[in-house]
Symmetry: C2
Subunit: 158 residues, 2 copies
Amino acid sequence: MRLTTMSDYAMRLLMYVGQHPERLCTISEVARAYDISEAHLMKITHQLGLAGWLETVRGKGGGMRLAAAPEDINLGAVVRSIEPDFFLVDCLASGTVCLLTGNCQLTGIVSGALQSFMQHFDRYTLADLLAPNTAGAARLGPSTQPVIFRKRPILAAN
Amino acid sequence: MRLTTMSDYAMRLLMYVGQHPERLCTISEVARAYDISEAHLMKITHQLGLAGWLETVRGKGGGMRLAAAPEDINLGAVVRSIEPDFFLVDCLASGTVCLLTGNCQLTGIVSGALQSFMQHFDRYTLADLLAPNTAGAARLGPSTQPVIFRKRPILAAN
């Protein structure tokens, strides 16, 4: 399961810019900092600008800065503005033809899982990403435990 | 954001087999039913067999059946046994080098979102997928609302 690289880089780019509120940041310095191609970052910067998360200043000495305070940049909203779609399974895409459509619970269950996923992001803003890790670890609590990586099949308890 | 096609098809294959508990099902009939290639389904059947969700009977008149009752086949466990990884962002993969590692909240927040996602699947079994849609719709409740498809950026309320 993956988010697109776009969402991953978008959040890291916002973190970098948010860590330098006193000045404009350039695409080339972010590219060097994360070892990401400038072309890729240029697309992301453009999209984050269109979505209203970044302001860019053109010309010599130009660059980018946040278009809002970190506390006002909600991470769920950022992911929604960057991910091209959330069709986790084929049957979530419109126009899908499946002989089970209308008599199948899969769509509802997958949509519910995705809603839980996005609701978790909705609880955080860019300010949380910029907070020192030690303080944040306590706040994030048990959700930081990587229990999702258990691969062995288990039978349902009920 | 996507689950792999493997997980999508694995759940649909289990649904099909679960809908015919009185007999063995063949890969070719499932392929026809969903318009999926047999080669693809063969890989998935093999993996579901290894993971302990399907039993296969070889030879003439052979086929596959569930290896457990639908109530005992947990959907979260199925997804974990099929998805190759859950590295939603680069920094969840082991061996990742990032200048922010150790001083960044992104990993914890993304892990938490993924945990919420998987916990939702953990609440359901194959029996829920086989239930008639009308009864299930009430049980699934508000989680079936596709609110995650809102694309317009929103500012945090706090």
